[in-house]
């Protein structure tokens, strides 16, 4: 049987791009885009993508009865959350007037404040934080293999995650403030940026994920 990656399809995300990038990163892997809990449980590893508003994302996960299986696989097999698929893993979000999330990683999702500036500039920073920004890896991890420190990845978001436990943070990026750009906890990894839109470094991260056994570094 070919090694399978399940991309969870709950109608909220650029699934085509994520699936294509995974296939491109490792042509030997079989990518299954699915909302079927049986298929998700059967896969060797799982990607949770997501774009748009977090309440809609969580609402669709609940409607499709996916919360249980997501919680289960996120603690059992190599698991990668992307963008809102990362934010959904936290305890709660400020978005949509306060939204309870999955609670797999203790912490909050916060909005970038207004009148945000970098220390070296007078110009007010734009929100959404949109474009290629540097990612500072905080500790070695199999998913950073072959990716240079401070590589630029593509971001597009107005909210950022703030994990309570400092060691859950795997990388930081600066946009007026230093925020967590990646989370690492056991078999779970999650990124705020879009690897599927980050050219070679993004494809390398997907390739690393496909080869990762899910163990602690």
């Amino acid at each position: 049987m070919r090694r399978q990656v399940a991309v969870i399809d709950y109608g909220m995300g650029n699934l085509h791009s994520v699936a294509k990038a995974l296939e491109h990163a490792d042509p030997a892997v079989e990518v299954v885009v699915t909302a079927d809990p049986v298929a998700i449980r059967a896969a060797e590893r799982v990607v949770l993508p997501g774009v748009g508003a977090i309440r809609d994302c969580l609402g669709e996960m609940a409607r499709l009865d996916l919360i249980g299986v997501i919680t289960e696989v996120a603690t059992e097999k190599p698991f990668l959350g992307v963008c809102v698929g990362m934010q959904a893993l936290l305890t709660e979000s400020e978005e949509n007037g306060g939204t309870a999330a999955l609670g797999l990683i203790p912490g909050r999702v916060r909005r970038f404040p207004e009148n945000l500036r970098n220390s070296d500039s007078r110009q007010i920073l734009k929100v959404p934080h949109m474009g290629w920004n540097q990612v500072e890896q905080l500790h070695p991890h199999p998913l950073w293999e072959g990716i240079a420190q401070q590589s630029r990845f593509y971001f597009v978001h107005s909210y950022y995650v703030q994990p309570e436990i400092e060691t859950d943070s795997a990388a930081v990026t600066t946009h007026g403030l230093r925020f967590t750009a990646a989370i690492s906890n056991g078999n779970l990894f999650a990124v705020q940026f879009h690897p599927e839109k980050s050219q070679e470094v993004g494809l390398r991260l997907y390739q690393n994920f496909i080869r990762w056994d899910g163990s602690h570094p």
């Binding site: 949109m130 290629w132 540097q134 107005s158």
Partner: protein
């Protein structure tokens, strides 16, 4: 986390976005690369720009007949399967269903232009449904103030031929309030002139709105791109002909902008 904010990183890079006009699934308006097999093939042209370091790619669907719109969906699918940088599709986006199809095909953002002017609620509906991050409102503006008067620009439709009476700055603010996540600003006075962006216009809009502004219209030399950022306060610059004709590569444009002190992804 140890060091203070912004101690070594200078933040998000300014973006260079080549724009391709696509008619019935073919790139038009003369892409002239040497050693390209098929200069009309959107996949091949996009791949080339990706290799040169383009930060995003924008496709403008200029297909006249709505019967042929489906062709654009296939173009996006093919490009998104091979080029892993953000893709924006504009032209003919009038309904929620148009947006859904483009996003499902692999587009990251859609550009809404005329439809926003005739039905601003469409922008609100689109942003509610798909999120502001994928809604780019395209604004075509033209100076209407006379000599000696305070500068003023208005929104024009139909390729700059039809005035709407809408003030460009106020319109941009309204579109952001309705949920636009980005503004693609084209000066109809400068478009095609190669004289550089309308910098006062770009700056007026960039300083008025909280979301990123892409400057467009008038790029003829590389220094124009840097001006768009440094003097126009744009987050991104869009150009077509200087890249298509091979006058400059994206890589050359990036080095020039970096040399001007602009943060770029090199």
């Amino acid at each position: 986390m140890g060091r203070g904010p912004g101690s070594n990183s200078v933040g998000v890079a300014k973006r260079i976005i080549p724009c391709l006009d696509v008619d019935n699934g073919r790139v038009v308006k003369g892409v002239q690369f040497v050693d390209i097999r098929d200069a009309g093939d959107p996949v091949e042209v996009a791949r080339r720009y990706d290799e040169q370091g383009a930060d995003e790619i924008t496709f403008l669907d200029i297909t006249a007949s709505s019967d042929n719109r489906e062709t654009m969906v296939h173009v996006v699918e093919q490009v998104a399967g091979e080029v892993f940088i953000p893709l924006t599709v504009g032209g003919g986006i009038r309904k929620v269903e148009d947006i859904r199809r483009m996003l499902n095909a692999g587009a990251d953002k859609v550009g809404i232009n005329t439809a926003a002017v005739f039905n601003p609620e469409f922008v609100r509906e689109a942003a509610d449904r798909f999120g502001s991050q994928c809604i780019v409102v395209a604004i075509d503006a033209k100076q209407v103030s006379g000599e000696g008067e305070p500068l003023r620009w208005e929104i024009f439709t139909h390729g700059g031929r039809r005035p709407t009476g809408l003030d460009a700055v106020a319109w941009a603010e309204k579109m952001v309030a309705y949920g636009a996540g980005e503004i693609l600003l084209t000066s109809m006075d400068r478009d095609g002139t190669k004289q550089g962006f309308d910098l006062p216009l770009t700056r007026a809009i960039s300083d008025a709105v909280s979301v990123p502004v892409i400057a467009s219209g008038g790029v003829g030399e590389l220094k124009h791109l840097a001006e768009g950022v440094l003097e126009g306060h744009a987050e991104a610059v869009l150009a077509a002909s200087i890249f298509h004709f091979g006058t400059y590569t994206i890589a050359e444009a990036k080095s020039e902008m970096a040399a001007a002190g602009i943060e770029m992804r090199l």
